[in-house]
Assembly symmetry: C2
Homo-oligomer: 329 residues x 2
């Protein structure tokens, strides 16, 4: 690891994992060591999911969403992925001096709409203001609490051999929408962020099957990075079928033109379920019309994700090192 | 309210209260409307306190503490003030590209030491990296969960007529330590921040008396602002006895020289208990050797804090409008 923090330390890839691991070791405890996006806690007899995220997306508004919506749904989704029903969120703002209050109002209205839609209550908050050039307009932290839905099987971070991998829809839209807006690339692509709440879909999956081992939303680092993490943590291999991965034509074309691999591009409304073969079609139904079975957990390729390409060749997907897109969420 | 955010919107004073109120109305619900520093929640049968704060203190290190220690104790204290035992915290970092990793390590070591001391576990976290000049070195958000200690009486935000006000020690040290370090004023004052965890003291108070109505830590805005808030929320008056308010000579002298009113200067290890007369001396004992009874809740001066000065004159303490000290926490 270098001596200074680089943007790549925040991209969800290899350097970030090294940094996260450095911190994890420092604070090591049974709950944190699970390394999922939400912690699973017991308070008296209640099983609770607890999650936090700071949002620094640039620009603040982009087709399909804005920082406020992202901040609510991002945390709601992390909680949902633990098999929990999100209930409460906190809202902490770091504002750069000079921000227009009407802009702040627009963002807060968006937070309100999103929290209503996801059925969570904003119950506590904080505001800090820093001098000009000490922050970039506004950063939002949300933390959230959810109640873990009582199921026979705990949804964790480890997949099992033979699990099928189901995705709920088309990939890479959030990243491409943000980059188009930020760089003013002017693609008249109609590409919108997929930013949405996943709690309803996730709960439907949990009700459809008691055989789900892992649920994971595909944010920073995209589908590939999430699968690399799961393969590594589970000490198993993943085979991924490229032809089954849903993606819109215009998103693929924009990725091709800009040189991005859509497998690594961020989503904000996509997740995967790892589920026993027997229940895969039930879970696929629970995940909606655009859902698809895209891969399988195998005992070969240990800790690796093996992509079977459309031309029936294969390649190993690596954990990314450098940043495709900073400040995507 | 002006059209743009100013530093005064973050100082704990009048403009900030207007801004907070603007947001509160947007998200209005029974829990949020209590307007305390931690929310009181029910998850199944467990009563939980939930709090969040982002820390943007400048400089990162100051005599008596640093941003890491502050981030843990600040949130621990907000939870403790609800009569809860802090259990778990989250840790979310916004880092400016280029931050030295050894500096980050020092701060994280401080977070670890503080969390051990306060007996809370860091159970979930997040890292974001932004480009140079998009943040000032590092901002830390901590959110926390605590279990509300089962007591006969709920500790809330409303004081009662006849309550005495007990403080646990000397005021204005944190603010003066930070300003001395930040501005390199070079006062060889030996003034250190009072930054510490209050959960042990707070729990002792709760055990000592069932008649505590409000507990409040005295952070941004200092003693005066906290009391103004409580008087206003309780729809009662507060009489404060200047001669009883503990303050070190060198802190008072530094305040005098720089033109700060110590009543408005931030603390990070001080709190007040509002308690029925009968139990005031018991609570005072629970708050330690430096504790003092500094005032009383009265039915006159409604919503106001009336300071009886050492020369037996009186004045009303106002909610501050402009900023004495930005980025104090």
């Amino acid at each position: 690891m270098g001596e200074r923090i680089t943007l790549a330390h925040g991209n969800g890839g290899k350097l970030m994992h090294e940094l996260v691991d450095r911190l994890r070791i420092k604070f090591s405890n049974k709950i944190l060591d699970e390394m999922s996006d939400a912690a699973e806690l017991c308070v008296q007899k209640s099983k609770i999911a607890f999650s936090t995220d700071s949002y620094v997306v640039k620009p603040l508004f982009f087709p399909g969403g804005d920082i406020g919506k992202l901040a609510v749904f991002g945390t709601v989704n992390d909680i949902s992925m633990k098999g929990a029903r999100p209930l409460f969120i906190s809202l902490s703002l770091i504002i750069e001096e000079g921000l227009g209050i009407s802009l702040l109002d627009r963002i807060m209205t968006s937070v309100r709409e999103a929290s209503r839609r996801a059925r969570v209550q904003v119950v506590t908050g904080d505001i800090k203001v820093v001098e000009r050039a000490s922050a970039d307009k506004i950063f939002i932290n949300t933390s959230g609490i959810g109640l873990i839905i009582n199921t026979k099987r705990r949804i964790g971070s480890k997949a099992e051999k033979g699990d099928l991998i189901v995705i709920n829809g088309k990939i890479a839209e959030h990243g491409m929408a943000v980059i188009n807006a930020r760089e003013k690339l002017g693609f008249i692509s109609g590409i919108k962020s997929d930013c949405t709440n996943l709690n309803v879909q996730a709960e439907r999956c949990i009700k459809a099957s008691k055989r789900i081992s892992v649920m994971r939303d595909l944010t920073r680092g995209g589908l590939a990075t999430a699968l690399c993490e799961i393969a590594s943590f589970s000490n198993l291999g993943i085979e991924l079928y490229e032809k089954n991965i849903p993606i819109k034509g215009n998103v693929r074309r924009m990725c091709d033109m800009l040189g991005f691999d859509p497998l690594y591009v961020a989503n904000e409304g996509k997740f995967v379920c790892f589920v026993d073969k027997k229940d895969a079609s039930k879970v696929k139904r629970g995940m909606g019309k655009s859902a698809a079975i895209i891969g399988e957990v195998v005992s070969s390729h240990k800790k690796e994700v093996y992509l079977k390409t459309v031309i029936d060749a294969g390649r190993i997907l690596q954990m990314p090192v450098y940043d495709q897109l900073p400040r995507i969420c």
